[in-house]
């Protein structure tokens, strides 16, 4: 799953036809931010794919037209993006919703959210223009020493932990993981050898890459559990995934 850097250009075709898994997609979009050749190639593939769709036309029922036209009458079109606000990421929701999230979320989660918006925004149209700074999550996903562990989740889907010892950070990426039950949330944990699990923050949206709080390089395990919405001090018995890690003895010296 981890692409050597020299190989990442080869993902352009699979990216253009949505044939990458979520982690690869996030990695490739970070690459796109820096690679004009890939951006041009992906755009040309989108045009080509649009022509392929020409061979698959099916007239939709009138009810769909009615539904769409009734829907738009209740939706306000978003304003154009203005170049004066370079920090505005492309978002699938209203901009003010993002502002609220920004105020509410700790810095690390905002960094993760930026990647999420790049990776999972409902409408993606060259989003990389707006977010050239690789976030922490992006740096971890692209780190040369990144180690990945994927565990199935009992309720469905899977969670992948990506850890970079040199960056001392870890990121969790879910795929097809259902939301936590009502009133509950996913909480992330890190454990050092011989110590108890310590909270590494909440993961409100399991399908969004989320950076774990805390020092990941020296951890011997990471875990995810289902907890009350405000989180817990200690993990409940409802652990959905455990990721055994090899503590990096050099610790932060590897930086």
């Amino acid at each position: 799953m981890n692409q050597p850097l020299s190989d990442i250009h080869a993902l352009s075709g699979a990216y253009a036809v949505d044939a990458l898994d979520d982690t690869e997609r996030a990695e490739f979009e970070l690459h796109l931010a820096e690679c004009a050749a890939c951006r041009a190639e992906v755009a040309s593939f989108h045009e080509t794919a649009a022509l392929v769709a020409e061979t698959e036309t099916v007239t939709p029922p009138d009810s769909l037209r009615q539904g769409v036209l009734a829907g738009i009458s209740r939706i306000r079109p978003l304003p154009p993006e203005t170049p004066e606000t370079p920090e505005t990421p492309v978002t699938s929701g209203p901009a003010d919703e993002l502002a609220v999230r920004r105020r509410r979320l700790p810095a690390l989660l905002v960094a993760a959210a930026a990647v999420v918006l790049i990776a999972f925004g409902a409408v993606l149209w060259h989003p990389w223009q707006h977010d050239r700074t690789a976030s922490i999550a992006g740096q971890v996903l692209q780190a040369s020493d990144a180690v990945r562990i994927t565990e199935p989740v009992p309720g469905g889907g899977e969670l992948t932990l990506v850890r970079s010892a040199s960056l001392d950070k870890a990121v969790l990426v879910g795929r097809d993981v259902p939301d936590a039950p009502d009133g509950k949330t996913y909480q992330m944990w890190l454990q050092k050898p011989g110590e108890a699990m310590v909270s590494a923050g909440l993961m409100p949206h399991a399908d969004e890459p989320t950076v774990l709080d805390g020092e990941a390089a020296t951890a011997s395990a990471a875990a995810v559990s289902i907890e009350p919405a405000d989180g817990s001090d200690h993990p409940s018995k409802d652990v959905v995934a455990v990721f055994p890690l090899k503590p990096d003895q050099s610790g932060n010296d590897a930086r």
Partner: protein, 204 residues
């Protein structure tokens, strides 16, 4: 990419030139809240959008939901469309495709696909409209270009784009070594792009 001829406004082909400009204009008007322009945009593009969703999802009810979501996103985001970066049609179909693939890969849908997998093959369930589309000049060109690919390239492109499978899944389905399907997909797209004369899209 220097061998590609530049196409400033991003129309996919000579035939579609004025058509593409008209579609882009409809989107621009939609961004200003012009519902009549959006209705025209819908009428001009919905058979392609819905056909693509049906092809990926194989389920008309889900395809209708995905297509409706995509059009509502289009309306909301119309101001973000930039004709300098691609055609309006590919913008729409990229949104439709992403939504269809996301849907098909959700846990619930994958169960359905797993059970349906045995009877899947390369044949498209054509309905009358799809048959009619084969008569269009553009569709014939595309079919010819698909026909000029190697078998593995064609299968890889079709399974990925129309089947909604990941390149890893495609590799397994085609008995290719993992990691080579992505190359077939890219090679196939390059060959088709060049055969169809798709111009390089200007980048900001």
């Amino acid at each position: 990419m220097s061998h590609l001829r530049p196409v400033p406004s991003g129309p996919p082909s000579e035939e579609g030139g004025s058509d593409a400009a008209h579609l882009a204009d409809l989107l621009r008007r939609s961004a200003r809240g012009d519902e009549a322009a959006f209705a025209e945009w819908y009428d001009a593009t919905s058979a392609r959008a819905f056909g693509l969703a049906v092809r990926v999802l194989r389920d008309r009810a889900q395809a209708e939901e995905v297509t409706q979501e995509a059009y509502l996103d289009c309306w909301r985001q119309a101001a973000r469309f930039d004709a300098g970066k691609g055609s309006a049609l590919s913008w729409l179909l990229t949104i439709v495709h992403r939504k269809a693939v996301d849907r098909v890969r959700s846990a619930e849908a994958s169960t359905r696909r797993d059970t349906a997998y045995g009877r899947r093959d390369q044949d498209v369930p054509h309905d009358v409209t799809a048959e009619a589309a084969t008569a269009s000049i553009e569709a014939r060109r595309v079919r010819a270009a698909l026909g000029d690919l190697t078998t593995k390239q064609r299968e890889a492109v079709q399974l990925a784009f129309l089947g909604g499978y990941t390149h890893t899944e495609v590799a397994t389905m085609l008995d290719l070594p993992i990691g080579t399907a992505k190359t077939r997909i890219r090679d196939g797209l390059i060959r088709m792009r060049d055969a169809l004369g798709v111009g390089e899209v200007a980048q900001a």
